[in-house]
Symmetry: C2
Subunit: 549 residues, 2 copies
């Protein structure tokens, strides 16, 4: 646009999401605006920072500082209006985005001319019983920190555990999914755990197991050439990771991962990197989705919508030749630049360009300072050279000099200084949640500390009590009934054992919530006391029908 053009009303562009797709679209639009394009950019993101996703696995292992993967959005985007809120809904008719309630509990509407959807995908554990309740996702920074804290927690616990079966379960770490994300997590976890256990003299190091469950016959199959996929598979196995190939996760419980062939792995740590599904806001747009992604033209325009654009993982964007663009950072960044240009071209009634980037190559870290790389021109690297390249490429891509410096410092000090296995547990309970058990699993044992109340949603529970040396069933409970209240009322150990008679789903009310409710609402407490009293009376006779919890 020439300096002499009539000043146009700027087109309002609202970008949903601050990942690679969203951030780089806003950056490119800012640059075009600086050159005179009449656009006004707003960006909506749940956090006030951009997360450098490719380095998240390093947070688990502590190879980079927790904050080193983050860049404050406001420092990256100087001319963009930033809303740190949840995008709750989009009205394509009225052309407004509704933002979620904040401190003042008021929702807020942002009008747009152009809408850029860059919301990525979300982890969706529905569909596999117990997965939402008992698997740890690996997608966000909070996920990575939570995994790290959990791993240190089980290591601490295993160091004091005298029941060998319990200890082995605590020292078994299961990762589900053998794509780039799963192999990176398994590699980082393997490095971290095997290094960390050296600080625990009482942990038998030979009992540590890192298990990677993958439905294919090889890791990274379809993502790399067969030769490199084979290298990755061998490298992970050589580092001590147990591979369970051709297997899927069938269900999860607090104490085990159940595989599709019925095999049960006793574990306290199940990390799942699959499956992912569209962001609920994308689903609610009412636009056609293909394999969970917005159906886009090669110009990035969403099919069937007016001035709505898709970028990054949430869009299905055709590449030259017709194959969809893969969900990687390098593709999202190129799409973003094209998208910004196309929005400006659309406003100028100029022709739009088509996405024509075929990728610079593929990179995946395997832990143990090993990686695999596939470069254009058929060049392939593996092992330490690929790992050095992996670090160099991602370091180069980090936004801003300050970020680059911080990460370089972090990497250099890790070479010189010992590792740093400290938790960063910020407390915060999950509140009332569900739990899933498989047939035969114990919910709690007589004598255990009582830390929660259970209400049965589906399934049956058998209640067992010890009489001398003998354990007898004293009753069965079904949907709508609850158990475990006795320990909460008196702060005593569990007075009986509760075991799942079938696949079981329960609602778990933590002791802290129970106390809050019981303290604030005397009738609530009295109700439980009354039933507890009846159960205790009934239970003087071991064959009583109404058993204690």
């Amino acid at each position: 646009m020439s300096a002499g053009a009539a000043p146009a009303t700027p087109a309002r562009v609202v970008v949903l999401g601050g990942g690679f797709g969203g951030l780089y679209t806003a950056l490119a639009l800012e640059r075009l605006a600086a050159k005179g394009a009449a656009v006004e950019v707003s960006l909506v993101n749940r956090e006030n920072y951009f997360v450098f996703q490719p380095m998240l696995a390093e947070v688990i292992a502590g190879d980079v500082g927790i904050l080193d993967t983050l860049s404050p959005l406001r420092q990256l985007l100087s001319r963009t209006r930033i809303f740190v809120r949840e995008a709750e809904a989009v009205d394509l008719e009225r052309r407004v985005v509704t933002l979620g309630a904040g401190l003042t509990r008021r929702t807020h509407e942002v009008p747009f001319d152009h809408l850029v959807v860059a919301l990525g995908s979300v982890t969706d554990f529905r569909g596999i019983p117990g997965l939402p309740e008992h698997a740890l996702p690996f997608k966000t920074l909070a996920d990575a920190v939570r995994i790290r804290n959990h791993v240190i927690h089980v290591l601490e616990q295993s160091s004091e555990e005298r029941d060998p079966e319990q200890r082995r379960a605590m020292l078994t770490f299961v990762v589900a999914g053998g794509g780039f994300s799963g192999t990176e997590v398994a590699g980082a976890l393997n490095d971290f755990v095997r290094r960390a256990v050296r600080d625990y003299p009482s942990i038998p190091q030979s009992e540590v197991r890192i298990v990677l469950v993958h439905s294919g016959k090889r890791l990274l199959e379809g993502e790399l050439t067969p030769q490199l996929a084979a290298y990755a598979t061998t490298a992970l196995a050589a580092n001590g990771i147990e591979l369970m190939l051709g297997e899927r996760l069938a269900s999860a419980t607090p104490g085990s991962a159940v595989l599709s062939d019925g095999w049960r792995i006793r574990t306290r740590t199940l990390i799942s990197t699959v499956p992912s599904s569209p962001n609920p806001v994308v689903e609610a747009l009412g636009l056609p989705l293909v394999r969970g992604r917005l159906d886009c033209e090669a110009t990035l325009a969403v099919k069937g919508a007016d001035r709505v654009w898709g970028v990054g993982d949430c869009g299905l964007i055709p590449m030259p030749g017709g194959r969809p663009s893969p969900p990687t950072a390098q593709h999202a960044i190129r799409q973003a630049k094209l998208l910004a240009a196309n929005i400006v071209a659309h406003e100028a009634h100029a022709p739009l360009r088509r996405f024509a980037f075929s990728g610079l190559g593929k990179l995946g870290a395997l832990g143990h300072q090993r990686a695999v790389a596939e470069l254009p021109g058929g060049l392939r690297l593996s092992g330490a050279p690929a790992w050095l390249m992996w670090r160099a490429v991602y370091w180069w891509k980090l936004p801003g000099t300050a970020r680059k410096t911080r990460v370089a410092i972090s990497w250099l000090s890790d070479l010189a200084l010992p590792p740093h296995p400290v938790q960063l547990n910020l407390g915060g309970s999950r509140g009332t949640a569900q739990a899933h058990y498989e047939e035969g699993e114990t919910v709690f044992n007589e004598g255990d500390a009582g830390d929660s109340l259970f209400m049965i949603i589906a399934g049956q529970v058998e209640v067992l009590k010890r009489f001398g040396d003998e354990q007898r069933a004293v009753g069965t409970l079904g949907p709508g009934e609850y158990f475990g209240e006795m320990a909460l009322l008196g702060r005593d150990p569990r007075s009986a054992t509760a075991r799942a008679l079938s696949s079981l789903d329960v609602l778990v009310l933590p002791a802290s919530d129970f106390s809050a409710l019981a303290g604030g609402l005397p009738e609530f407490r009295r109700g439980f006391e009354e039933i507890a009293r009846r159960r205790t009376d009934a239970n003087a006779v071991p064959s009583a029908p109404d058993p204690p919890g």
Copy 2:
């Protein structure tokens, strides 16, 4: 002890707490054991790390990395058995410590010959209405990170807020307590907020207020000479901190801090560094407490108990001259060394030594690279030289070379690199909790997003509804009644306004917990639906007695 001495059964020493007192006692015992003393040391601590408390305020400001203040206990203590658990109870008769339940939900008993109580003090907000619910404590690392996250959250929110009164409340930060801890927090917060707002063009920088409320006439009164206390008071005021001296906190609500003279400061951020009280485990020992601290001899033996010792903040330890030892790191470290020697002397039936350390001086940071210092021999420093000394002294005291290096790197990079205002919000709700409101305050407004259900514990709520331009009271609710369920059932905005008619305490059930309960227990949901239906019907007539929430 000579190498020829008969091998004694080692005395089992259990140390409760891994702060300065506990860690340094275990370290000194390890050294004595290496020289031949027959002691076996266990240490019980809730976290697997030692927190370098004096640097916590720097975490709020981001001057040191979050993990830089932490050192893994297992790397510091190589011969000590470490239990990362809650110490739940001590039985002085049976001489066992009961550890809280872990992953397996089993409690665990640790027997002892000598017990070292090094549990410090805990923040106790009971006694001031609303303080437990609405004030942020500043005591642990989690507290510091939570304060940092909260501050960034309100800054983000204020940048979009169009109601000037709401925005000013968001930009007002109140710290209660003008001792070392309160002044350090206020100083760090002042530096951090004033630097961070520069990234928010829409925030009027003149509206930022940092208020320090202190009951005395001068800050740090009694802790420093009048001259230095006056310097500190002037320095904080000069940096833009508003001082409210001679005032105490009377109550707290979600939107305000109420002072003893009735003055209400509208704020979204209230940090309280007072009051602290004994750890519940210390209280439960049944030993005499003086001003909340264990009554100790100058030998550190707890009066009236056999082989029970107090060290650090939780003990009242007389210094030469009779004054109690102040709760500082330098005193705890010296006590710890003496205590280890006295335990070994006690086993050898040798005479015990008495605590005779009068302190090396006092140091307090004021923010803005200023501090105050009082040194032995009457030497006093203030301003930048004192701040440099503050850093040098604490850096020197950091345990381990690796830690020293990491902190030095962190400080040096902060000189060169821009600040880093990113949140580290790990999610995790508080679950069901209480909230406190003062008369006339609004719990929610008609049209607000509905995110929780309220049950009245004490006090009265007035329900108001808009009819055209007019707002009419449609009813009053009292203890045992609840409100706010309608928005949760339909996910609609609030259908009425709820306002406290008196001092009000409510139980707040978050929407997530409500959904879990309503989803898992159909009767629970039906109960609320039934009452909501009755309220809606009744409310067709505005004067109905049974109003909606």
